[in-house]
Symmetry: C2
Subunit: 374 residues, 2 copies
């Protein structure tokens, strides 16, 4: 392609990106309006990245039918101009309660939604007091999960990035298998995995890599230690990659030189529970029903109490996002959702087994994205 | 030392650690009681690590004159038992509003403080509703910065760990200077720095390393890009290490092959501003006064608007903690505080200069911990 052709391709790609952002804003505005709100105040970094392409660690969006405003401070204002074309960028020096009431007053909004699970009690209190003091006719309305609901259903471009992140994790697991042997420590293996992920293009790692062997593998969120890995004991490896902001999440349990009878049995139960959940999880199901599919297998095998966490979680710009697959979840599953299926059994003092794949719901069924062998 | 001697040394060290935790709880309880509270509910991971030694990512502490309770879920309960001896460990399955009212009811507390800048509006609302529904005679009292105030003054053992983290960063900067040359990219340099830090014992890195060259250096919180570093342009490197949870933070601005006249001038202004602040910062001063020391130098040189952030921040278990050194800060400086002094000048489109050292206040004055050359 000539230089001119390249430029046109880049402009088209840039235009496509902007159109996708516009489409997201349109969908968001529909949800905001349905709740009878004039606008929504948005703060989590992943939501800012999703809606505005802004990757700074601190900023606010104000989205109404007429306006798309990105508020940030000195540190990020130049970055915001580059990353978020089409947004009105406002630079502020002070805290939320200093600038928000003034800005809202000028915009004439009466009902402003805020993300009640992200705004602290203190911020809300200070903003409320400032609104009262300035006698602004504005109601602050708590909302939850509006942007997260949009984010939970992936667009094709997002799925491409997630798939790339899944492939990186798959490859890193193969690499780990090649170097792991009795005598190395958990920390050494974790660091080799991280180097492999990052040298192949992962933007950092989305969470601290878990390499937990023997009794440590009974801690679902163990940190790698200086413990030496011995043959015969379970080794839980849990890690992921990040590509253009999009994450992957992968767990496998290995046994160097074969497992003892108890852990062979446990491994097979977890494997069966996972296969049952992957097979049985369908669109339009409740997330809690998907959880129950795996849980029933583990309960019937007599290990119900040893599976103390939920079946899985959505993965996207955040490594833990909607939907949440657990017994107490009220989420519903729909096509386009990407999430983990990761049952586990943990025996305190002995060890644990967890097997985790990522799936996407397509045509009503779960398609497994993870290719790593089990 | 014989085996028995080693064991005694370990037991003494373990006992010392426990005593230091007891001492922290005693100081905390004094602050809680002064506010007329029966107990305090605590949630930030750094506060849990500081008070209980607990390093899980999710848990709550309840501290009163009689009780030290650590509440966590299935994933961390085994870890909590190991890390937090002496604490009553309670395992919960559900959310705060499900378990807190029941627990408080049994304990008979009437006034419970909570950290209003960490508890979300939603959590507070749900807990309040649950308390009302159960007709529990309990007042939830918003507090801010109680544990952070304790954490801001470092004990000798904490200073030893911070100093180790500072030394690692100093060494990594020397390493970076050895490999940086025109033609390498920002990302390549950042990754070499990170590998060096971690292979020498840093527990991850406390924040994403900044390597920002040319115009990118005008973004105070730039991310490393694939941009090639050229001779003559400013390169801001900002990074830190972590040892046993304790962080360091170091920035330097390099010029490969010498700076042009503008940046020579700017560099010297920033250097003078920093030296002035280090020299003039004293215990019992307001943090805002320390900020003003550096700001005056930069303002008088005509670059006041180009120094858009505060002078510095406390560093400890969190890389950004109390005290906050800025014009709007109401913090006071006292002996034992550890913080950064990091003035900067940023010219959009051209580049920026930031020079950052860590200091500890001792005998009324700032002692510089950082040894990296300027």
């Amino acid at each position: 392609m000539g230089e001119r052709g390249l430029q046109i391709a880049e402009e088209l790609a840039e235009g496509k990106k902007r159109n996708s952002k516009m489409e997201r804003l349109r969908k968001l505005w529909k949800l905001i309006a349905e709740k009878g709100l004039d606008a929504l105040l948005i703060s989590p970094p992943e939501n800012l990245r999703y809606l505005a392409g802004f990757t700074g660690s601190s900023g606010w969006l104000l989205i109404s039918g007429q306006s798309a405003i990105l508020v940030t401070d000195f540190r990020y204002v130049e970055q915001a101009k580059g990353e978020s074309p089409g947004f009105e960028i406002i630079q502020v020096k002070q805290e939320l309660h200093d600038w928000l009431p003034r800005l809202i007053c000028d915009l004439g909004w009466r009902k402003l939604g805020f993300e009640s699970n992200f705004v602290s009690y203190e911020s809300h209190h200070k903003v409320s007091e400032a609104i009262k003091a300035k006698q602004i006719n504005l109601e602050l309305v708590p909302t939850a999960g509006i942007v997260e609901q949009l984010r939970s259903v992936k667009e094709p471009e997002e799925l491409i990035l997630i798939t790339k992140a899944v492939e990186l994790a798959d490859a890193a697991l193969e690499q780990a298998k090649a170097i792991i042997r009795p005598g190395v420590t958990e920390k050494e293996v974790a660091w080799e995995i991280e180097k492999d992920l990052r040298q192949k293009g992962s933007e950092g790692v989305p969470f601290e890599i878990i390499v937990a062997s023997g009794p440590n593998s009974a801690l679902p969120h163990a940190r790698p230690t200086d413990k030496t890995i011995c043959s015969g004991e379970p080794v839980v490896i849990d890690m992921g990659a990040r590509i253009n902001g999009y994450c992957s999440d992968l767990s496998r349990t290995l046994f160097l030189g074969g497992a003892n009878k108890t852990f062979q049995e446990i491994y097979n139960i977890v494997l069966k529970a996972q296969a049952t959940a992957i097979e049985g999880t369908k669109s339009k199901m409740l997330a809690s029903q998907a959880d129950q599919l795996a849980r029933t297998v583990i309960q019937q095998a007599g290990y119900g109490d040893a599976f103390g966490h939920g079946l899985g979680h959505g993965v996207g710009l955040a490594v833990h996002e909607s939907p949440r697959l657990g017994l107490s979840s009220s989420d519903s599953l729909v096509d386009g959702m990407v999430f983990t299926i990761e049952p586990g059994i943990y025996l305190a003092g002995q060890g644990g087994v967890r097997i985790e794949d990522m799936v996407v719901l397509e045509n009503g069924k779960a398609r497994v994205l993870t290719k790593a062998t089990k």
